[in-house]
Assembly symmetry: C2
Homo-oligomer: 370 residues x 2
Amino acid sequence: MDERLARTIEAIKASGADWGLFTSPDGIAYASGHIVSIETGPSPFAGGPAIALVGKHGECGLVVTNLEAETPSWADMILTYEGFSYKEPTDIFANYCNATQELCTRLGVGGTIGIEQNSFPMSLLPLVSTQRHVSLDDAFKRQRMVKTATEITLLREAALTASAGQRALIEHGKPGRSELEIFADVRLAMETSAGERLPLAGDFISGKERTSAFMGWPTNRVIATGDPLICDLAPRVKGYWGDSCASVMLGKASVGFEKQFNAVKSALDLAIEIVRPGLGIGELDQKLQAHIAAQGYGYAHHSGHSIGTSVHEWPRLVSYETERFKKDMVVMVEPTSFDPDIGGVRLEFMLHVTEIGCEVLTDFEHRMSI
Amino acid sequence: MDERLARTIEAIKASGADWGLFTSPDGIAYASGHIVSIETGPSPFAGGPAIALVGKHGECGLVVTNLEAETPSWADMILTYEGFSYKEPTDIFANYCNATQELCTRLGVGGTIGIEQNSFPMSLLPLVSTQRHVSLDDAFKRQRMVKTATEITLLREAALTASAGQRALIEHGKPGRSELEIFADVRLAMETSAGERLPLAGDFISGKERTSAFMGWPTNRVIATGDPLICDLAPRVKGYWGDSCASVMLGKASVGFEKQFNAVKSALDLAIEIVRPGLGIGELDQKLQAHIAAQGYGYAHHSGHSIGTSVHEWPRLVSYETERFKKDMVVMVEPTSFDPDIGGVRLEFMLHVTEIGCEVLTDFEHRMSI
């Protein structure tokens, strides 16, 4: 049994449930290994979200459309329903509800059902309305906090994919090119590294105004010498998200940018030095915020977040977090600085918490100019 | 009042409802003008899908996260809730439910609520459980079948964006390059044309085996002279989908590929010739299937689909469809041929049904080789 399925069962039991019914892309990936396609929104050939159903005795079933019949997963029962049909009329919504009902019947679902409350569709209510239902959210996020060996391998691969993109930025980020042109080379490097198209979160922004906002996707803005640039790349590879952020100045870094960059780089170095099992997560955020503040900057943002089948997982690196770092957590650390005369700087690495400290899974060097 | 809001109200009334509560990205875009970000899946900072709420007397409200507070739309009441927070703990799910409840209270929601049944989350059930609820799906799809003048402008722009990608294929599709490399140039051309990153559906596949399957995204496969290639590009631009499909052979087309290409090209030409108000949609599919069959090929697929805020809308071009073409419908026509010794060919254009025939919104020429 995959260790993630075992932990999913622990979450179901800890929630007081007999079964868990998963409907979010990240929850389904964790509980069943099925990777939901997300890049084009909900499929017009689906009657609702894919469903992974897990029983406390190890049962694992899936409901997906006929277009996804070949999906890899560790489910031992996959029911498909007709979504795409050209020969005769079909009621996709009814097919979806019927397939889910059928899966519940075949697996013998009863007792208390645990659900993901953000994503549970009303259409499935008849499946749980005669039974008790509870939220799995709290127990499930706790089980997912510490990563399994398989997950660490997958996150390492995702971090290396993001790193391939960051190295492409150094190679292809030249004045006179548009954000979209450079971004195309960066994305191609990641997709070539992974061998496939990848869902991609993040930011790609240049210039004082855009980097001051810290968020945004690339445009036709042409990059000039002296522009700051933020390149935040979060590709999803085999269901696991990588993440990373570089901030550079095109050409030679100005004195002000250098100061800002060094403040953030030393904060990131500080995190790499002190992150280890037992350190308070809130304490890390406070230390990084204080480190940046001592150098005259501030950031109205978190210092990072955990990562896995969701790009942002609990616990996030925020000052009020009371959890402590544990061995085999994988976290993004992303201190930030802001100078209204220059723009924003954010530097982000992926750290794997080890027995005695942490290992950097990201594989590129931050540089202040390209 | 935007004509789409007026038609949404018609759908609400036709469903016997007093209010419509929209939760799908395409439904929200149509009913309120708010464009939901889809490329990275559900936001970890959202407590559920965005909500557009429309009343039969013209009320229009939105619930979105604080990260989307600046979203353009024609809603006259936008309630945001805290999703991203770094200062103190927040219950995103409770914030979402409360904001939705608040919007219902402020707008005075009561009576019968119409919902989109594929995407309505259980969390919103308390809003409707004391009231009657009905499905909007059938009436809503009927209202959306004929496009408004604004929609035709937007679909034309999306078609031109897709066409920019197809012209880039002709320029950059060279033997010795990988599918992903060519795809990067094609995507860049579309994104440069639109000035932003674009959600993109479609297929990009080469070689006999891959084009025989008709579906798939690009890989590191290196394209060789004599390979067939299918390039299906469906970008979403300002909330509206473009679509298009080219099939080419690299280098000189073989005799077999030429025959296959000509069969499909003449089917597409036939569609352009005969599509007009009054023609049966099922009849068009039958004619195209027969035209292809008469030349020794067949296709186990529809002949196309309507398009708008969803990439596949009703009515689809399938033999059992009983609707007839109407002025200002916009449809994709995509006849296909398959030869197991060569691979697949699919050619697709976007057609706007006019008073006397149809106008091709796609702006590139199909060629059998590049």
